[in-house]
Symmetry: C2
Subunit: 180 residues, 2 copies
């Protein structure tokens, strides 16, 4: 599920806009890296599916948007079995910071389900969430996926609706079953 997108302030950084070369990009984030457009005048934001994720940093990000803590061992397995994992990084030549994330599960061709979409609260309001979803759908299109579904908190329903997501088509309802 996707938490509400609040507002916040961004810390200062030692990176100036327009200083990031493709060489820097690929070296730090992998050959699949690409810049995430943003309205921020100073910082670079980068999508990567291959830069390794620090599980503690990821859990801190997910908790910052309100997820409850999950055992690292279980998160590790879930990531290993995910169809797609996208990290969104605030570029820093020494210490890139994971400020956004999303992942998908699915059968790789007919269906995909989006989980754990998060933009760190202090980086919200820059259009990064919209760019993250656009990048995710572009990546799923490349896999020729037919249909993508997600579960949205009431607070972000309009966010997805505005991006062309269809809410409960034909009156479909989502039903949840919990082990505990």
């Amino acid at each position: 599920m996707i938490r509400n997108f609040g507002q916040g302030k961004i810390r200062t950084s030692n990176i100036l806009k327009n200083s990031l070369s493709n060489a820097d990009l690929f070296e730090s984030y992998g050959a699949d890296a690409c810049e995430c457009p943003s309205s921020h005048k100073k910082f670079y934001f980068v999508f990567s599916q291959s830069r390794p994720l620090d599980l503690i940093e990821l859990e801190q990000l997910l908790q910052s948007v309100g997820w409850s803590r999950r055992p690292t061992r279980r998160v590790k397995k879930a990531l290993e079995n995910s169809l797609l994992k996208v990290g969104l990084w605030q570029h820093d030549s020494k210490f890139p910071r994971l400020i956004g994330f999303a992942r998908c599960t699915g059968d790789g061709i007919l269906q995909a389900t989006v989980w754990d979409v998060a933009i760190h609260p202090v980086y919200q309001g820059l259009g990064l969430g919209k760019e993250l979803m656009a990048y995710l759908l572009k990546s799923l299109k490349a896999l020729d996926i037919e249909r993508v579904v997600l579960f949205a908190d009431p607070g972000v329903v309009s966010f997805y609706k505005n991006q062309g997501w269809e809410l409960e088509p034909k009156g479909d309802r989502c039903a949840f079953w919990y082990a505990n």
Copy 2:
């Protein structure tokens, strides 16, 4: 998504109730096979996750409950990448018939999504759909999955609600994106 469960009549069969041994069960349906309880006095119904599925027979089953036709190549890939596939068979020593099906995608530990739940219309009204879902959840529990989700047509919402599924907890909405 899950289609409405209608009513129908069952064809005659050359199998009499109480004639199925464990040896028959395992030989025909694999070591993971187990009988599916039903209110029918005459026929045996069997769950199997390992008995190979005939893709044409599966598509005929899914079309019988109203799914639109899908290319066999894509269905094959989707099944290969599914976390769990359950076939429900009307036992016949010579020609077992696939009369029910369900599959799950997921990350194998945190989340699972249920797809393609179907009971052939002429076998509906015997409690097989309820047994199929109970079997599916039991299998997912064995994998230690935390949460299972599915999408229900309006006609079967009460079917899931009556089995303890929670509809859109905390006002969550499901959103769909289609490639075409």
